[in-house]
């Protein structure tokens, strides 16, 4: 029997499979490892960021700073490596530390000052974007033999597709995050907080450290997404990735995670990212459609999923009421 709580995920998976099938019917070329490889590579940074967002939304919060942190990271890395000649690994490490601390500070403010996540991360969004402008308003190109090596690295699929380093990074992040969410105490605590903060606290969940951990993880993954974005574009630009946090939220919600928290799967977010990528690929294949159709389809899908979630809640409440009636 399908658990009602997995229903949104299964629906998402079904929609992806059907949509991909329809695409293939129209453009048989879309069924190739090349397309799949590109789908993964092109959406790697979004996917990594969306993983962080999944934890945040599962806990009942929201993180609006993601796009800005990605931009900050990419500019920071590009300036360090491109202009100052710092070794990429050092730059990566530095930027991951900074973004993680940034996230933990936001988490601490949310927890200990009692400010809603929306407000705290909105401030974080402006702060990170401003810091990115402060470093450079230009697009900073980046070139280093190690970065070239990472960009050039790939596994070849049969059929000519490439599983690039970026795609591998994203897949690893999703795999690790799935285990963290499903099989660790931290993951269980995230679900508990998202279900009911007060109850979780009374049950002895360390709400403070978990909240800080959630936003630190989101910060860390935003930083990692920024590194992926830098590698993807070979540059850093402070105006880039505006609104990526909203794409990430869309991926999480389409992936079946309840916006109010407590219910959802990391794997769902993966499918959510793939659906967004699929729409873009379709538009490229079609050639005549404006890329803004992506936004329209995402908008429609979001509506569908929010309605679906309401429907599931309504249905399970009704079933519970019916059961109670039977007991009486």
């Amino acid at each position: 029997m399908i658990h009602t709580r997995n229903l949104p995920f299964i629906t998402t998976l079904g929609i992806f499979v059907i949509a991909y099938g329809l695409c293939i019917l129209q453009f048989p070329n879309m069924l190739s490892t090349r397309v799949i490889g590109n789908l993964l590579t092109d959406n790697a940074f979004l996917g990594i960021a969306a993983v962080g967002m999944t934890f945040v939304i599962l806990s009942g919060g929201i993180d609006l700073s993601i796009g800005s942190v990605i931009a900050f990271t990419s500019v920071f890395v590009a300036v360090l490596v491109g202009s100052l000649g710092v070794h990429p690994l050092v730059a990566f490490a530095a930027v991951l530390v900074i973004s993680t601390i940034f996230g933990s500070l936001m988490g601490a403010m949310i927890r200990y000052l009692g400010i809603p996540p929306f407000v705290v991360t909105l401030a974080g969004m402006f702060l990170a974007r401003g810091a990115a402008y402060l470093i450079s308003t230009q697009s900073v190109p980046i070139s280093h033999e190690m970065i070239d090596a990472i960009q050039g690295f790939y596994f070849r699929f049969p059929g000519g597709g490439r599983l690039t380093a970026l795609a591998i990074l994203m897949l690893v992040v999703f795999a690790v995050a799935s285990v963290i969410a499903g099989r660790t105490k931290f993951g269980a605590n995230v679900y508990a907080i998202g279900g009911n903060l007060q109850s979780a606290e009374l049950l002895g969940v360390p709400v403070g450290s978990t909240t800080i951990g959630i936003y630190a993880l989101s910060g860390f993954l935003s930083g990692l997404a920024g590194i992926a974005y830098t590698l993807y574009t070979s540059s850093g630009y402070s105006l880039a990735t505006v609104g990526v946090e909203l794409d990430a939220i869309a991926a999480v919600v389409i992936g079946g995670t309840l916006l109010t928290g407590g219910v959802g799967l990391v794997a769902g977010t993966f499918v959510g990212v793939l659906i967004q990528g699929l729409i873009q690929t379709y538009i490229v294949f079609d050639g005549t459609l404006s890329s803004w159709w992506t936004k329209i389809v995402i908008g429609v899908l979001l509506f569908v999923f929010i309605v679906l979630q309401r429907g599931i809640i309504w249905y399970s409440n009704r079933r519970l009421a019916e059961n109670r009636l039977k007991e009486v």
């Binding site: 009374l202 049950l203 002895g204 007991e327």
Partner: protein, 520 residues
């Protein structure tokens, strides 16, 4: 635990030292003492009821014992050792577990995840779900529960959730179990199920503290009673030495004017030949309440009795236009009216105090005055705002006449006790001078003092000619105030009792009467 006991202590303590001994517990909020030098002793294998009116300090004491509030003054000894739990987790580790009334477990997690949250069995550093399932099933089977531990908690009834919560608390703590109003939303059968579990735990030597408003249940299960009033200890006695009347006067600190259960009204006080101004004929809604006839005369209190889920609240929803009837007519003064929404009901002079005071009744962050003015404003229409001076005057007059405490119209209503919130909601409707006021469980979760005041208020209102419909699960309450009682069962009105017929026995017999079978 500790073998090192000072000679003095060893001397002063008998061999059977108490499980939990709290001495001189004190706590203040913003300079106001919530608890003042309270002593509390719990023995092993004892069910100890902690009683008192709202604001007596029960919750504060419990929260100090369970680590939610820090200990300010006094000492807590557990097994003869001084303890000072810093937080809930620390209290659990010491052996004190708590099950709260409303927020206890997480509905979005499975039963097994709830049982082992924070202490999941692990294998290779990761949660071992199979082991967790196995242990959960084993744990619950000791409580006589054979349920799918992999199903979401939200798919089970409140009673089962309570037992799961108790199983978790006992498994986690194992010495002291604190139950804060565990039976508030259970029906009689579920209460019995819960009590069976508690009696078994008592045999196992656990110390159980129970807070409840239901005195019958206290006599049913408790061994000992401790009563608090206004943050002070009134007394602590074995239940066997404590007649009900003494217990109530301990709780109220004054002799009762009349104990609910005395019949105060007679049908004669309502002019029965008067034309009924509010009449519902064949009124019903498919799947909600079967069609019923109901006439309500001025100055009459119509009680509605029935078990949980019998259609009591649904009847109120129909009368107030929250649910739309799909059959029958409603008329006021012989004019047919269409009750399509609460707005139309208010326009016809109806008022409704819902059962879920916290979620459906009050707007917590608004002041008492704002909450009181709400219905009057809705009736006047938003185009004609009530000035803040009018609102203040209105609020102050009701605060005075209903004795709402503290008497501060500008205090956010969420800071008031349950009884005072209920009075403020009553004031909200009284301000609109309704001809019909529907009260759904007006005294639920309210202490005895406020309880008696609200019943008195109901009597006064109907003496003034207002009609009331009162829904209550407390039969004594209905028999004390209602001129007539409608009995519901299985979502239909099965009996109507009037005059001398209105007794608790008759109501129970009506409920217990075999339900009429209906084709399809």
């Amino acid at each position: 635990m500790s073998n090192i006991v000072s000679p003095l202590e060893a001397h002063s303590q008998p061999a059977t030292a108490a499980l939990l001994e709290a001495r001189g517990i004190g706590k203040s909020f913003l300079g106001i003492a919530a608890l003042d030098g309270v002593d509390f002793t719990l023995q092993r294998g004892e069910i100890h009821a902690l009683l008192g009116e709202n604001g007596a300090g029960k919750s504060t004491l419990i929260k100090i014992l369970t680590g939610v509030y820090s200990l300010e003054r006094g000492t807590i000894r557990l097994d003869g050792v001084d303890v000072k739990p810093a937080d809930v987790a620390a209290a659990q580790a010491l052996g004190i577990g708590t099950v709260y009334q409303e927020v206890n477990l997480l509905e979005n997690l499975t039963v097994a995840e709830n049982l082992f949250l924070g202490r999941q069995p692990r294998r290779f550093g990761l949660i071992d779900k199979r082991e967790m399932r196995k242990r959960s099933a084993a744990l619950l089977s000791r409580y006589g529960l054979d349920i799918d531990v992999d199903a979401l908690l939200s798919s089970y009834s409140v009673a089962i959730r309570q037992i799961v919560a108790i199983a978790r608390a006992v498994d986690l703590s194992g010495k002291v179990l604190v139950l804060d109003e565990p039976t508030a939303s259970l029906d009689a059968h579920e209460v019995e199920m819960l009590f069976t579990v508690l009696r078994r735990l008592r045999q196992d030597g656990l110390g159980i503290i129970i807070i409840t408003h239901f005195l019958n249940q206290v006599y049913d299960i408790a061994d000992r009673v401790t009563v608090l009033r206004n943050g002070r200890l009134v007394g602590s006695k074995p239940i066997a030495d404590l007649p009900r009347l003494d217990l109530i006067s301990m709780m109220l600190g004054r002799e009762l004017q009349h104990i609910t259960g005395d019949r105060q009204v007679s049908a004669d006080s309502v002019a029965s030949d008067a034309q009924p101004p509010i009449r519902f004929a064949g009124y019903g809604k498919r799947g909600s309440v079967a069609p019923f006839d109901l006439d309500i005369r001025p100055g009459e209190v119509v009680g509605i009795a029935g078990l949980l889920g019998s259609g009591r609240s649904e009847t109120a929803f129909l009368l107030f236009g929250i649910d739309r009837a799909d059959s029958g007519t409603a008329s006021v003064d012989n004019k047919t009216i269409a009750l399509t929404s609460p707005e139309t009901a208010i326009a016809n002079g109806f008022g409704f105090c819902p059962e879920e005071r916290k979620t459906d009744g009050i707007i917590g962050d608004f002041s008492v005055a704002d909450n009181i003015a709400l219905a009057l404003q809705a009736r006047q229409g938003w185009a004609k705002p009530i000035s803040s001076r009018e609102r203040q005057a209105l609020a102050e007059s009701f605060i005075k006449s209903l004795d709402i405490r503290p008497a501060d119209a500008n205090r956010p209503i969420k800071l008031l006790s349950g009884g005072n919130q209920q009075k403020a909601i009553l004031a909200r409707w009284l301000a609109t001078e309704p001809r019909l006021l529907i009260l759904d469980e007006p005294t639920r979760g309210i202490d005895i003092g406020a309880h008696a005041e609200i019943l008195k208020m109901i009597e006064r209102l109907c003496a003034d000619g207002m009609s009331l419909v009162v829904i209550s699960s407390e039969l004594e309450e209905l028999t004390a105030i209602a001129h007539r009682v409608i009995v519901l069962s299985d979502r239909r009105h099965i009996a109507e009792l009037a005059g001398d017929q209105v007794t608790a026995d008759n109501i129970m017999q009506a409920i217990a009467a075999p339900a009429r079978t209906e084709a399809a």
